[in-house]
């Protein structure tokens, strides 16, 4: 006969851990409070997915069916409630999240602010209404550059789009720098040091003498930079 006593199994060791949960505290009228949640979700969809949520019902007086209805509304919005606080235990049915108490407030990450920048279009044209002085370098890869005034010798304009100069161009103009071969350069008087469109360039040496003192446009024909008068 086995008289060995069975080893005593150790009692279950319980461990404690604290988690941070979001507290949803509905206020009257509940319908408005739910539409506030919808607003937040439209700006940051899925913000509450996977995040523990505790429902604090201390500010409202809800019957058991009303609590059930509220839990359903939140589930429809993909918000799963972990626990409920601020009510009597009698108000909760057995299939509802458990009653919880003893929480401490702490800071949580807020849903992202409405990014207004994404609503406005990025600027595609730069306007300068004073002369561009020698040594200044205007670089605008996003689009066209318009100068109301002259561009001095030793200055340069570099644009992703076209360059329009209502004055005399004495410096350098480089248009279509991001591969935009349809970009053009326009000026009221050409005394430029260098013109370039999409990398194809011509220096002042190669400009036709008949173009002097005339309104001029420069454009790319295949791989040749053409410069012709405008009037």
């Amino acid at each position: 006969m086995d008289t060995q006593s069975e080893p005593v199994r150790p009692a279950l060791r319980l461990r404690g851990r604290s988690y941070v949960a979001f507290v949803f505290a509905p206020v009257v009228p509940i319908v408005d409070w739910l539409s506030d949640i919808d607003e937040t979700l439209s700006r940051s969809p899925g913000f509450f997915v996977g995040k523990p949520v505790v429902l604090d019902l201390s500010a409202v007086d809800l019957s058991r069916p009303a609590i059930s209805h509220l839990l359903l509304s939140l589930e429809k919005r993909n918000i799963r409630v972990l626990a409920i606080e601020g009510v009597d235990a009698t108000a909760l049915a057995s299939n509802m999240p458990p009653l919880i108490s003893g929480g401490r407030s702490c800071p949580v990450q807020q849903p992202a602010e409405d990014k207004k920048e994404s609503r406005t279009l990025p600027p595609t044209s730069l306007l300068l209404d004073s002369p561009v002085r020698s040594g200044q370098s205007i670089i605008f890869p996003e689009g066209d550059v318009t100068v109301v005034g002259s561009v001095a010798s030793g200055a340069e304009i570099v644009a992703g789009g076209s360059i329009h100069i209502y004055g005399t161009l004495r410096g350098r103009a480089m248009a279509g720098i991001n591969g935009n071969s349809a970009a053009r350069i326009y000026c009221q008087k050409i005394e430029a040091e260098l013109l370039a469109i999409d990398g194809f360039y011509r220096t002042a040496e190669e400009f036709d003498a008949t173009l002097r003192n005339r309104h001029v446009q420069a454009w790319l024909e295949g791989e040749t930079l053409r410069i012709t008068p405008l009037n």
Binding site: S130, R133, S134, G135, Q136, G149, A152, G154, A155
Partner: protein, 270 residues
Amino acid sequence: MAKVLVVTSGKGGVGKTTSTAAIGAALAQNGKRVAVVDFDVGLRNLDLVMGAERRVVFDLINVAQGIAKLPQALIRDKRLENLWLLPASQTRDKDALTDEGVGRVIAEMRSSFDYIVCDSPAGIERGAMLAMRFADEAVIVTNPEVSSVRDSDRIIGMLDSRTVKAEKGEQVGKHILITRYDAARAARGEMLGIEDVLEILAVPLLGIIPESQDVLRASNVGSPVTLNNPASAPARAYADATKRLLGETIAMTVPSERKGLMNLLRRRAA
């Protein structure tokens, strides 16, 4: 409160020091309390042109570094009692100047003078930058020839970006002073014409100073040209330019050495 005026050009040898002395003296003759300050550290010339080279004890660097007090360094002109000179150091160089040091000196001077005229060195490095940094107005001295005009344009760009006023979003008042103008050479096409210079620089014209041997004569005796020979063509031109700075409207003429020949040009605002 004083007005700080910088006389600058970019290009060297165009007449900044001559103009600083001449305009400084003319302002003093108009009853203003004027200090002319030499910012050309290591290559000082304003003391020579003002005739004060044998009275220099302390200089701008000494005051900026706190070694000397401002009244110890300021040299009073022997001819005009409301004209003072703050010389530059000859033994140091431009690296000894600092933003804070210069700022303190200018701030201290603002309360005792009506005009502080800063003689900038040539170039676009620290000396020139510090001379223009605290300016309210600028006189850009330009010779009517291509190198000088392009350098002046560069300096105008810097006046619009590297001064305290520009950083605050305000504008430094800018004026072009054309110096060493020779009407005959301009007529022959050897020099740029006034209209050409103004078209390129797009800044209002303050005055036209003709080329003259009086400038060298005045500097040899250590006197501003407006004091040495007030009847000479450059002296009359500087006097007119100074009056325009003070707000008077004077028809733009090129005073000529020869009597009876005048080029009348309307004052042009850009």
